[in-house]
């Protein structure tokens, strides 16, 4: 397998791009492969995490020379983020991008869950994916109400749209979001990459919703963004708590850069749009040099070799955007009623959960329920895309019909 540690990439001093290079042509929203949009959204989240992580590192680093090096690579990562996110088209609405974000959350998390070697971590992804799956359905109904368009325009039948674990019961006491971290010394290196990838993606969803939500005038849209952004916040807590807090700054920097190499390499393999593929290829070549710098810092300041952190087998199997319909239906059928307590999972509602629900909902229906009620009221049914038959959970089948 491709081993990024064996490549030098583009020299750091040659990586700064000019305005012409930054001014990228966006994708055509009317003719885009939905998974190209997903790859763009994913890499944006990854780059945003790279930038924020390096800012935090700099704030915790007393060595002025290291701070300068971090500042330089952070500038390069920032240009990468601007290029990647600017591939999204200006004509797309906030809700259309939102539907793209949720399609990412569903198919990215499902792929990671399928490939995660550690059973406890796998459970964490399986648990989370059913919640994002539900968000896609809530936003799809909002989309038809406020923009009169159908979510299938975005997901194009690759991802089904129907209830997951209902958003109303996703509001748990924050204590119960905190998971047990993996052990950095014994965990499979793949698990580190999985956790960092999903954490970055969910964090970007949270940032996006908490900032764009108030741009809406429609009260139901404002309220739904507020509600779901709070869930995404809890997802960040859930996923970030999987990472071993004992990892030091040097090894975390290395894992970040290695992860970026893995993802750009993965997306380069499968990209259907040649123009976008060229971006992934260029960014991989840039990341290889960022990785070299991280390796250098690790050796000098931590006295360790990169293989001790990410193994010597090279990159894992490429992460792939592909339909996960059967897998998701299986999870729906077996885990939709799962809840969390402490650092584990239970099926029963428990006292702390009930108390939180009582405090937050206070006897009212949350926006995620109201949006479906309003859709039924206005259109006579709800919006779903069930390409593989009726919902696997009988109690979550459409009341009063659905259309796609």
């Amino acid at each position: 397998m491709f081993n990024p540690l064996e490549h030098k990439g583009i020299p750091l001093e040659s990586q700064i791009r000019n305005w012409r290079e930054l001014n990228v042509e966006p994708i055509d929203p009317e003719a885009v492969d939905p998974y190209t949009r997903c790859r763009i959204i994913t890499m944006n989240g990854i780059e945003v995490e790279a930038i924020n992580f390096q800012h935090q590192f700099a704030r915790n680093c007393p060595d002025q020379e290291v701070r300068r090096q971090l500042a330089y690579v952070r500038y390069l990562e920032s240009q990468q983020q601007r290029v990647v996110n600017w591939l999204l088209p200006g004509v797309a609405s906030v809700l259309e991008t939102t539907l793209g974000y949720e399609q990412v959350a569903v198919d990215l998390t499902a792929w990671v869950a399928r490939h995660e070697p550690d059973p406890y971590l796998k459970q964490g992804y399986e648990f989370g994916v059913l919640e994002d799956f539900d968000h896609l359905y809530r936003y799809a109904n909002l989309y038809e109400m406020v923009e009169r368009r159908k979510a299938d325009k975005i997901v194009q039948g690759l991802t089904e749209v129907m209830p997951g674990r209902p958003t109303v019961v996703e509001h748990r006491h924050p204590f119960d979001e905190v998971r047990t971290p993996y052990d950095r010394n014994t965990v499979d290196p793949r698990s580190k990459l999985h956790a960092l990838t999903i954490l970055s993606a969910e964090q970007q969803v949270m940032f996006y919703y908490m900032n764009v939500g108030p741009q809406y005038m429609e009260p139901i849209a404002r309220q739904l963004y507020q509600e779901i952004s709070l869930i995404e916040q809890e997802h960040v807590t859930h996923y970030e708590s999987l990472l071993d807090p004992g990892e030091n700054w040097w090894e975390r920097l290395l894992t970040h850069e290695y992860n970026e190499c893995w993802l750009y390499y993965s997306f380069m393999q499968q990209e259907s749009d040649p123009r976008i593929k060229a971006v992934w290829e260029l960014h991989l070549q840039m990341e290889l040099a960022h990785l070299q710098q991280a390796v250098d810092l690790l050796r000098r300041h931590d006295g360790r070799e990169p293989e001790e952190i990410v193994g010597n087998a090279g990159l894992p199997e490429p992460l792939t955007f592909e339909p996960n319909k059967e897998y998701l239906r299986h999870l729906l059928a077996t885990q939709v009623d799962l809840n969390k307590i402490g650092e584990g999972y239970v099926r029963e509602a428990h006292e702390r959960f009930e108390a939180m629900q009582q405090q937050l909902h206070d006897g009212q229906k949350p926006p995620s329920e109201q949006v479906i009620d309003m859709h039924r009221e206005r259109f006579g049914d709800e919006y779903r895309i069930e390409t593989e038959g009726p919902h696997p959970v009988e109690s979550l089948r459409a009341r009063g019909g659905s259309h796609a």
Binding site: A31, S93, E147, R149, K153, M217, R378
Partner: protein
């Protein structure tokens, strides 16, 4: 794959913004259909598109833009003038496409240009104009305006089915122009009384 052909029909409670949004959605779908199909399907889809664009743009020129001009924060005349200029340009492209017909050389390029112009224009309206209407115009007036636009669309002639030869020239443009007149009549009637 689910059927995406028919948008949900706007109900009686929908206002003119809902109706125009639904038309934008339908216009997007028709562009996809025209661009992705060939032969008779493409011809029919293009005819539908021409008819809908005619009704839609006329309604906007008669109702939406003049009203926006008068609203606080409406950007004054400049914003409306920009939209009108875009509409005029789109109409020129459309005329050329109608004249040449779907089999003409250059149709594939022209339809993409038209699509980009029309959909960008639609998004500007959705972001800048429609929110102002909802904010400043009484809900019942917006609903009445929807009625006028809907009635005008309903009385428009059915889709033309020109033969292979007659697909060229003004035969296809004729019904589109008739739609424009009917939409104008229908819109002007209620607005002059209230």
């Amino acid at each position: 794959m689910p059927d995406t052909g028919a948008p949900a029909t706007p109900g009686p409670e929908d206002d003119v913004v809902d109706l125009l949004l639904a038309q934008h959605a339908r216009i997007e779908e028709l562009f996809l259909l025209v661009i992705g199909s060939t032969g008779e399907t493409r011809r029919d889809a293009f005819d539908d598109l021409v008819k809908l664009l005619a009704a839609h743009e006329t309604a906007e020129e008669e109702v939406v833009h003049p009203l926006t001009r008068t609203l606080p924060g409406g950007g004054g005349d400049a914003m409306v003038d920009e939209r009108l200029a875009e509409e005029r340009q789109a109409k020129e492209t459309l005329k050329t496409l109608i004249a040449g017909g779907v089999d003409a050389e250059g149709f594939d390029t022209g339809i993409i240009l038209l699509r980009d112009a029309v959909l960008t224009h639609a998004r500007y309206e959705e972001r800048n104009e429609f929110p102002l209407l909802r904010q400043h115009v009484p809900a019942d007036r917006l609903r009445t305006m929807a009625g006028a636009v809907r009635m005008a669309e309903a009385t428009a002639p059915t889709r033309p089915h020109p033969s292979a030869q007659s697909a060229k020239g003004n035969l296809a443009a004729g019904p589109a122009l008739a739609v424009i007149d009917r939409v104008r009549d229908a819109i002007r009637r209620p607005s002059s009384s209230g």
